[in-house]
Symmetry: D2
Subunit: 295 residues, 4 copies
C-alpha cells in the first residue's frame, strides 16, 4: 500500500512481552520533573546491553497528579519482575529521590501485580507515613525539605519491540522522517521510544556470523552501504539511509496506535520513500502487528 | 568570610580519586550529539547505586573535533578500571552507536592509561579501518550509513566528590542558587556535575543508625525539618533548604575552579544565605579543598 | 479564602476586549514549527509599547492540522482590526513564510469576521491555488520548495488583560510560583501569556505622577522595596516579591479557566504566600473576573 | 573550489552598512536571561518588514558581565540611528524590563556613538542612581524588586546581509546543512543570524516583475520547483532545496569569519552539494565578501 506517496511494505512487526512499571514524577515545575525523568530513564535503550528499557511516556498537568503538581510519567521495562524491582529501586533512589523538589507516585494503581520499593529506609527513622491525594506515602526528611513517595508500584505485562523502519533517499531525509515519527508517538499514551531521541541508527540482528561471541551484530541486510555486497539486501533501490523506531508500551493497542501515528507522520516528510517493519519470521514474539491492519 | 553578603563557612570539601574517561561524541548537528550524550550519561548520578558517574563536560565546535562536526565531551567516572571499561563498552555501544549520525573519539589522547573498547565486532566482518582527523578509527556499516569510532580511550586518575552546599532562606531560593551554580560550572572545562540537573536534593551520610543493612541514609544534620530534633544540626538558623553540588573532574585544579565559580554564582542569588562543604573529618579522601583557598 | 495555605484576596481582575486571530503554523517537525512561532510572537508583550500582543497557544499533532504535520497555534491580539491585519501580514510574511518548511492555516475558520492576508503576491506570478486538507490555499515557489498558506484568517473579539499577582516570601519563591502558574496555563486551550516566559516582573499603572509625558509607570503600590515609603501599599507584610501573570484569550471562559489553573498551581509552590488580581476600580474594563468565583 | 566534496561557487556576498547596538541582559540564571533575550529579539528577521533585525549574539558567564550574573548579549540592527534608538527603547522597555530578575548593560562601552535610553522615568521618581561593576546605572523599584539598567548604549556602524546559500539534494539535506551552519555561527563572536532558527527558506529579490506594488518578491532563480520554467535559473542540477543564511555583525571580519565557519559546517552534512552567496552585481553594497578568500 501507499501513504502520502510512500510505499508501506506488506509486513508486520514482531514484538515481545515485557514487565512494565509506570512511575509518576512530580516537582515544583514541569522542568524539574523533566530533569529527574531524563536522568531516571537514561542508559536504558535496549535490554541487550542496558539494565532495562525506559523512557518518558507523557507529561502530566497538576490536574492529573496526586499532589496537584506538574509531572512526567515514565515507563520502566524489564523482562523479569526481579530485574524490574531492582531497576525501580535504583532509578527511583538514585535519580528521583536525589532530584530537587520531586515526589514519586505509582502510575499503575489498578495493576494487580505489586512491586515494593522501600525507599523509606533512607530516612533512618526520621521518616513517617502520610496521605497525599488519596495515596499512602512516606515523607522522608532530606536536605531540600521532605521527599514524598509511594512504596508500591503496579506492574503489568506489556509489549516490547513494536517497531517500524523509516527509509529515505538520503540520511537527512530518513532522520527527519524518524524525528517526525517520534514527535507523533510522543502524543500517544502508554508508550515510550527508549533509544536516543527515540531513534535507532544501528539496528541489529541476533548473534553474529563472523564473531561467535557476539550476542548481536549489525543487520547487514538493512545497511545501505552494503546493498550491493550482501545477498538478500532489504534496502530498496534509491534508499540511502534507514532508521528504526522501537516502541515499548503497556499493551498491544497502545503500541499499534503509536506505530500507526509514527508511520503516518514519517510519510509526510519529503524524501522518505519506504516504510517497513522488523520481524524474525514470526517464531520468536507472540505479538505480530501488521502495518496494513493498523493504518 | 563573606561573599556578596553570603557567609562562606570556614571548611573544606573532601574528595576522592576516581578513574575517568572522556568520550567525544560528534553528530550532524549539536542537537543530535547532545541527545546521544544525554542517553549515555543517564542513570549515572552516584557510584553508590548507579553503575558509574557520568555527565556532559562541554560542547565542542567543529574546530575542536577530529571530524570537524559539532559535538559534546562526556566524562565517565568509575572507581576501578575494570568497571570503567565495562561502562565505556556498554554506554558507547548502547547509547552512542545506536544514536543517529554519531561518531566517537577519545577525549584524552595524551593519557598513558589506555582502555580498549572493541566496538568493531558489531560490524560482523563488514567493518574496516580508516583515518579521520589523524585518528585511527573503524568504520562500521549500520542502518543509517557508517558509524565511525575510535577503539581506545585514555583514562586518568581524577577527582570525585568535590562539593559544596547551597543554603537558602527557603526551598526556591536555595534551588535557584544551586541552578546558578550549575550554570557557572557548565562553563568550566574538565568537570561534570552528575546528579539530575547537576543538583543533589538528598545528601546522604555513610551507613544508617537505625537500619543497619543500609549503606547510606539521609544526612539528618543537614535536614532543615529536623533542625530542632537532632543534636548537632548543621543547619543555621533561618535556613529553609539545602542543596549539594557534587563535582567530578579530571584533576584537583579543575574541581577547585568549578567549586569557586559555582559558589560565586550561588551567592548572587537573592535568598541564598550560607555556603558550606561536606567532608568526613579528613580521614577518608586524599583531596581537601578549602573554600577560603579557592575563593 | 485560602488555597493550599495561601491567602487568595477577595478581588477581581479587570479585563478588556481585544481582536484576536489564531494562526496555525505547521512544519516538518514540531521543533521547526516552534522556531517559527517563537519568532512570530516575539516583541509582543504589551500593546502599550509593542505593535501587538502575541504568544503560542498550544502545540498541535498531525491529527489536528490541515496538512497532517505537527504544528503550533499562535494568537495575535490587537485593539483594532486594522492593526491586527497589519500585524498578521508582517508577522506571517517576515517570520513564518521565511522559516524552514512551514505552512500557515487559519485557526478560527468559523469566525464571521475575516481578515485577508494576501501573501501570494510574494510569488510574483509563479504562485497557484490548491486545496490542502479541505482548505483553499496558495502554493508559492520559494527557495526551500513551496510555501503553502491560507490567505484569510478569522478574527474574534476576545479578552485581554486577565491577570493575577503571585506574591512570595522572597523573589525566588514568587518566581517559581509564577513559573508553575505558566506551566499550568500552557495546558489551557484558547489563551496565551504574552510576556517573557509568560511572567511580568514590572507591572505598571496608567500614567505617571512625576513624569507627565509617560503613559505608564511603575505600580509603586505593588513594589516591595517601597512598602514602607508609599501610602496605601498593597504589598502584605512578609512579601518580598510580586509577579503578575497577564492572560489574553479567545473568550472570558478560557481566560477564567487559565486564571484558575494558574492560581492553583502557584499555591503549590513553597514560599508563595498571597494571590491577588489587578483592576482599575471596575470603571475601565467590561470584564470582571472574581477570584472567588473561578476557584 | 571544493570543500569536503561540496562545490563552492566562485562568487561573493554583497553586504551593507547598518547601525548596531549590543545589549547585555543578565538574570538570576542563564535561562531567565535567555527568555528575555528571545522576546527582545523576536519579530526582527528582516528590516524589510520588521522594525529592526535582532538576534542573540552569545551567552555570557558571570565572569563576563558587570553584575557577575549569567547573561546574553543581543545585537539590534537598524539602518538609521533614530530607528535604532526607538527600537532600543521599546525592546528594552517592553521585553527586558518586564522580564523576571533581569538587568541591562551596554555591550559596546567603547563605541563613540552613544544612544540614550531613558528607562528611569518608568520609576516615577522612586528610581535612584547607583554603580554596579563600574557601570553607572539606575535602580528602578518594580514588582519583583529593583530593575538595574544602564541608560546609554554604544552604537557602531556594522555590516548587514552577509550571506551564503546552502543547496542540498533534497529539502532535509539542505535544512540540516543550514542547521549545522547556524550551530557553527553561534560560536562566532560579534554576529547574529536574525531569521527563524537562523535560516531563510524564502529568499527574495528586490521588487516584483508582476506586482509592481511589492518591494520584494520570491527569488525565482533560486526556486528549485521553477528550475525548468525560468530563464537563468541558478539552481544546479540535482539540487532539491536551497536555504540562505543571513548574517549581521559588528564588522566585516566577524561576518567573514561567521560565513567561513558556517560554510565549513554545512559541507560536513551528507546531501549538501553546493554553496553559493547572494549579491546584486556589486553595485548596491560596499562590502564584497569572496567565498574563496575567507575559506
Amino acid at each position: 500500500m501507499e501513504l502520502n506517496g510512500v510505499t508501506i511494505d506488506d509486513t508486520y512487526a514482531e514484538a515481545f512481552p515485557t514487565w512494565i512499571a509506570r512511575v509518576i514524577i512530580t516537582a515544583v515545575t514541569e522542568e524539574w520533573a523533566y530533569k529527574a525523568a531524563v536522568e531516571a530513564t537514561g542508559f536504558a535503550t535496549s535490554a541487550i546491553g542496558c539494565p532495562c528499557e525506559a523512557g518518558i511516556e507523557t507529561f502530566l498537568s497538576g490536574d492529573e497528579t496526586p499532589d496537584c503538581r506538574p509531572g512526567c510519567a515514565i515507563l520502566i521495562c524489564a523482562s523479569g519482575k526481579k530485574k524490574l524491582k531492582e531497576q525501580l529501586i535504583e532509578r527511583i533512589g538514585e535519580c528521583i529521590l536525589t532530584a530537587p523538589t520531586t515526589a514519586v507516585f505509582d502510575g499503575l494503581p489498578d495493576a494487580e501485580e505489586r512491586i515494593p520499593v522501600k525507599l523509606h529506609f533512607f530516612g533512618d527513622g526520621y521518616e513517617y507515613q502520610a496521605e497525599v491525594g488519596g495515596r499512602s506515602v512516606w515523607k522522608i526528611p532530606i536536605m531540600n525539605g521532605e521527599f514524598v513517595g509511594e512504596e508500591e508500584f503496579g506492574a503489568v505485562k506489556g509489549v516490547a519491540g513494536g517497531n517500524f523502519f523509516v527509509m529515505g533517499e538520503n540520511q537527512m531525509a530518513a532522520l527527519m522522517g524518524a524525528q517526525a515519527a517520534v514527535d507523533a508517538i510522543n502524543g500517544v499514551c502508554g508508550v515510550i521510544t527508549s533509544f536516543p531521541g527515540g531513534i535507532v541508527a544501528s539496528g541489529s540482528k541476533v548473534g553474529s556470523t563472523k564473531y561467535k561471541f557476539m550476542s548481536a551484530s549489525t543487520n547487514e541486510k538493512y545497511c545501505p552501504t552494503l546493498r550491493e555486497r550482501v545477498e538478500g539486501s532489504e534496502v530498496p533501490e534509491g534508499v540511502g539511509a534507514v532508521y528504526e523506531i522501537v516502541i515499548d508500551g503497556l499493551d498491544e493497542e497502545a503500541v499499534s496506535e503509536a506505530m500507526a501515528e509514527g508511520i503516518r507522520a514519517a510519510t509526510t516528510v519529503p524524501g522518505v520513500v519506504y516504510i517497513t517493519a522488523g520481524n524474525f519470521g514470526g517464531n520468536l514474539g507472540p505479538f505480530k502487528i501488521n502495518l496494513s491492519d493498523i493504518l
